[in-house]
């Protein structure tokens, strides 16, 4: 009797369940395989700098001498600090410009005018997301670069040493800030929307104004979500390649001010990878940079999870 029903069950099961279930399960697991192989391949290329070329990882991270062929000043060296510093400073700068703006937009969309938010700003944000990075780069190059160049030329208090090409850290950060604002804004919108209506009602019922409610209840309550958006924005800024490469001047030296030329990890990869002969120190070092980018973007995810864990702890 029991066996009888077991047989019946398996017929149902195989025909109407097991087959489909196996396929989707396989593709779920496939994502793990894909990620692991991606990490493996990038890592194996990226590690060659240290294993094969015997460069020191410490030097790679903390030295600013990047000369893959070597010249009168010494043998080849691949210190990536200038690029790392460039990536960090340009992303931070972009974040500083973008975050207040994005949060304001998300507050407008959820609290000030949800109707306009949905009908007008939502599409606007989606379009900003959809604009390809080369187009951002192109507009940066044709509008922002000449503008900043004029600006630096006009400023009397800048001494002659200022970079007046218009290609600068600031230009890159401005372009990036437009590119990452949709990310921060839409995650913040989600975070604010996910708040129970209760908070708002409770605050209003106590005689709070809208601004008081936003500032003292809603934004603090949504803060973990907003931070997640900020980290995602940072990740996007860090990984952006072409738009940045087109406008920052690609100078292998620490920028002395935001008007100085700079270089980033993605930018140097974009510029030099095509030229680098595979297997040489230069090529390997570029792969190491790619590997570093990969590690950093994984770190961002871990940070986001930490933020998320904190949030669930509160609740």
């Amino acid at each position: 009797m029991s066996t009888n029903s077991k047989i019946k069950k398996s017929v149902h099961y195989i025909k109407k369940e097991l087959f489909g279930r196996s396929i989707v399960t396989f593709f779920g697991i496939f994502l793990i395989i894909l990620t692991i192989s991606l990490v493996f391949f990038i890592a194996s290329k990226g590690m060659a700098t240290f294993i094969q070329d015997k460069q020191s990882p410490i030097q790679f991270l903390f030295s600013d001498r990047w000369d893959t062929v070597g010249d009168s000043r010494g043998g080849p060296a691949v210190g990536a600090l200038v690029f790392i510093f460039g990536s960090v400073s340009i992303s931070m700068l972009a974040l500083m410009i973008s975050t207040p703006f994005s949060i304001a937009i998300s507050i407008f969309m959820t609290e000030i005018s949800p109707k306009l938010g949905k009908k007008l700003l939502q599409p606007v944000i989606e379009i900003f997301v959809g604009i390809p990075s080369v187009v951002y780069g192109w507009v940066g190059l044709t509008v922002l670069v000449p503008f900043i160049s004029k600006f630096t030329l006009m400023m009397p208090f800048f001494d002659g040493s200022i970079n007046t090409t218009g290609k600068s850290l600031l230009t890159g950060a401005l372009v990036l800030s437009i590119m990452i604002f949709p990310t921060i804004a839409s995650v913040s919108v989600d975070a604010l929307k996910a708040l129970p209506r209760d908070y708002k009602e409770a605050s209003f019922a106590l005689g709070a104004t809208r601004w008081q409610t936003i500032r003292r209840v809603l934004v603090p309550a949504a803060l973990p979500g907003i931070l997640t958006g900020v980290v995602l924005g940072l990740a996007r800024a860090f990984g952006e390649a072409l738009a940045v490469q087109m406008v920052i001047g690609n100078n292998i030296l620490f920028p002395k001010s935001i008007f100085d030329r700079a270089n980033t990890m993605t930018s140097v990869i974009t510029m030099e990878m095509g030229n680098a002969v595979s297997g040489t120190l230069e090529s390997n070092a570029l792969w190491s940079l790619a590997f570093l980018l990969l590690i950093i973007s994984f770190l961002f995810i871990v940070v986001i999870h930490k933020i998320g864990a904190k949030r669930s702890f509160v609740k």
Partner: protein, 258 residues
């Protein structure tokens, strides 16, 4: 791989040689229906790497393969010298200077001179625009114009390809860079070096020292479409017309050798 497709080949490498390779390919395809040739730049380093790796059929380069690849790799490549190209120092059109001595040029690129007034121009900051270290144009310029002196890396704006260099120089006040003759037009101003005008004639007769051979490398002997295309470029038809029209110097005109 690309070699499996008999009727289509791809070429990449030197941006200096791009105008010639590209135009010749167009003409060739127009004459030989069914043949497909794709040409892209990317720099000499990329051309050499990719042809060695079998990613493309022809790798264009401004420098000898031996200068970039390991000896055992370079050995596998076959060199086809198709022409020579001169490389000129160029400046933004608002720079009043027309001529620089070799030493001045070196001083500028190594960062010793940073203002045009020190070489007889207006009081204007010099902005150097450089190419990536694996560019053949840069290697040639460094070797023959700068006498091997190391550029002051940090001071330069760096541009990926010759096209960008041209554009940036034309847009940036007080800027200086270098371009293959094939990129010269009214947007930038070429400089005389030690009084010698950068022209094809001066390259051919040996008075202008900054030039390089243009190489088309193949992995092993060229065959099929690859071979006929290289033959086509070496033919009088191309050498006498397209090559000179694009400001390259036909091999047979070169009175000096390297």
């Amino acid at each position: 791989g690309p070699s499996s497709k008999e009727d289509s080949i791809s070429i990449s490498g030197s941006s200096a040689l791009l105008p010639l390779a590209d135009n010749a390919a167009k003409d060739y395809m127009a004459k030989n229906a069914g043949s497909k040739i794709s040409v892209q730049a990317g720099g000499s380093g990329q051309g050499l790497t990719q042809v060695y790796q079998g990613a493309v059929n022809i790798g264009n380069s401004d420098v000898y393969a031996e200068e970039k690849l390991k000896p055992e790799e370079a050995k596998e490549l076959k060199d086809h010298v198709v022409c020579a190209v001169g490389i000129a120092a160029v400046v933004n059109t608002n720079v009043k200077v027309d001529n620089l001595t070799s030493q001045q040029l070196i001083d500028i690129f190594t960062g010793k001179i940073t203002n045009w007034k020190d070489v007889g121009g207006d009081d204007m900051k010099i902005t150097i625009i450089n190419r990536p270290s694996n560019s053949g144009t840069r290697a040639t310029f460094k070797k023959y114009a700068l006498k091997g002196a190391d550029e002051a890396e940090g001071m330069a704006l760096k541009e990926d390809q010759s096209g960008t260099v041209k554009q940036t120089v034309s847009q940036t006040e007080g800027s200086i860079s270098y371009l293959a003759f094939s990129y010269l037009d009214e947007k930038t101003k070429p400089l005389k070096i030690d009084g010698v005008v950068p022209t094809s004639e001066n390259v051919a007769n040996g008075t202008y020292p900054v030039w390089a051979y243009e190489h088309m490398y193949t992995k092993g002997e060229a065959t099929g479409l690859t071979k006929s295309f290289i033959d086509y470029i070496l033919s009088d038809e191309v050498q006498n017309n397209l090559v000179t029209k694009l400001k390259f110097i036909p091999i047979k005109d070169m009175k000096v050798k390297r």
